[in-house]
């Protein structure tokens, strides 16, 4: 027997032995599952085919002699045999040309996929899911949703506890700070917290009905601490005389006239989110990335905070 065959058989046996050992040693072993069996079958086939093919070509190299007709032309002294085109290869070649034409003209997936198209599909799917699951939630679930939106978007300025991080933003656990009240009385307000109400005049337009005179510095201080205190304490008479005509006797505001300054309302919060606001502390940007339901939810959450 030829040395080559002997070597091939020994090599095959060794490889099969290694395959067997590694499979036996692995979790599940030979009978673990179908994938193990497939892998083993594949490995066995691979080893046998490789050895067979290598032996065939090594034999050919050992025994083959060159024959056939050479082409006239030589390239740097290297010649080429005039061989017939293999029929199978030729058929595949022409089929490939036909396939190539089809692929360039019809099959190329130029319009079948785009990154933006996938994004649009994702967004549409998300919006549909949002509509189905969250469009009609109310009560505690709405507050919960508001909290999660708050933690994603609002906490960066207002803090995790909505306390405004030591005066860096509005403390949302209470409706209003004294300095904010003072600022709007001194300068008026055009924040349109309800969307379309009249602007509030500055102190030169604020008459105290009790004294029939413009509001004074002392009265501003008193009414500011009254409002900031949650409509309690000294200053109720000044509030009744100056502010109540628009903001209501209880400070809860009037539709289309003046916003609620006794407590938050979801509509007020949603409006601030839609338009932003510039107040005593600084400027708040608008958050029009949030959809209407998310704004309503944040409104519910913040209203709930100061209850």
């Amino acid at each position: 027997m030829n040395k080559l065959y002997l070597g091939g058989i020994i090599f095959t046996a060794l490889m099969l032995l290694f395959t067997y050992m590694s499979v036996i040693g692995s979790e599940g072993g030979l009978h673990g599952d179908i994938v193990n069996m497939l892998a083993v079958a594949g490995a066995v086939a691979l080893v046998i085919i490789t050895v067979f093919v290598v032996i065939k070509y090594v034999r050919q190299m050992q025994t083959d002699t060159a024959d056939g007709q050479l082409a006239d032309e030589k390239w740097d002294g290297i010649g080429e045999y005039l061989n017939e085109l293999p029929m199978g290869w030729a058929i595949m070649f022409f089929l490939l040309i036909v396939w190539g034409m089809w692929y360039f003209t019809v099959g190329y997936p130029l319009n079948a996929y785009s990154q933006i198209g996938e994004y649009n599909e994702d967004t549409a799917a998300h919006n549909t899911k949002f509509e189905a699951e969250y469009a009609s939630i109310t009560g505690d679930r709405l507050v919960e949703m508001g909290e999660s939106v708050f933690l994603a978007e609002c906490k960066v300025c207002h803090g995790i506890n909505a306390d405004g991080i030591e005066g860096k933003a509005a403390n949302l656990n209470k409706r209003i700070e004294a300095k904010s009240v003072k600022l709007v009385i001194a300068n008026g307000s055009n924040n349109h917290l309800l969307g379309m109400e009249m602007p509030m005049p500055d102190r030169n337009g604020l008459f105290n009905a009790n004294t029939s005179a413009l509001i004074t510095d002392a009265e501003i201080d008193a009414v500011a601490s009254f409002v900031a205190n949650g409509m309690a304490g000294a200053g109720a008479d000044i509030f009744a005389g100056v502010c109540a005509s628009c903001h209501g006797a209880d400070g809860k505001g009037m539709d289309s006239v003046a916003p609620n300054i006794a407590s938050f309302t979801p509509a007020l919060v949603a409006n601030v989110l839609a338009h932003g606001k510039k107040g005593a502390i600084g400027e708040m940007p608008k958050f029009d990335r949030l959809n209407a339901k998310q704004k309503e939810a944040v409104g519910a959450y913040i209203t709930n905070l100061s209850k």
Partner: protein
Amino acid sequence: MFHWLEKHPFFFAVGIFVTIAFAGLVEILPNFAQASRPVIGTAPYSTLELAGRHVYIKNSCNACHSQLVRPFKSETDRYGHYSLSGEYAYDRPFLWGSKRTGPDLMRVGNYRTTDWHENHMKSPSGVVPGSIMPAYTWMFKNTADINTAYAEQLTVSQFFSTPYNKPVPMKDGSTKIVKMGASTAEANALALAEAKVIAADMKDQDVKDAVANGQIPEIVALIAYMNSLK
């Protein structure tokens, strides 16, 4: 001809280059020219914003912050509309960045304001608990380089026809004119006028005093740049 080419490798290489380059030009250039036009709503940077952009580059903000919103729902929820190539038309160089240690800043002007930036640059962990961003206190003391910003404006307006002092279309249908001074003195005056608006919203008394005295601290320029990113 092919035999001739095979015998002359240099010209063969040139031929290959020309063929492939031509195919590339035909495929790439028209699309590229179309996509790199400024989109509506993209305006050139003002002198102060450009000075702020230089501060941004000087402090390597782009090493941790990207300026590129990818078209994924999770990103557009957080940062706003995905980026379009035309939005970088006036960015030289663009500051896409390649790593997000901090958040993307492509549209930070939409959801942060002057006073927040002031607090944040002074003490990042003071507003964002757990933030690993360092404080940039020297920006409150260093003076912004308005002259270099103006030099850049002049250069880009002459070599790239960047539309300074010309109406630029905005998203709401209006037009905006970004002014560029005719001289260094005028450019400094324009920047100072813009800086005064920013400083009015800031709390730091040293910064307010500096702006009142005609100086522009780096932080003011940087905030102007941040606010312009929309």
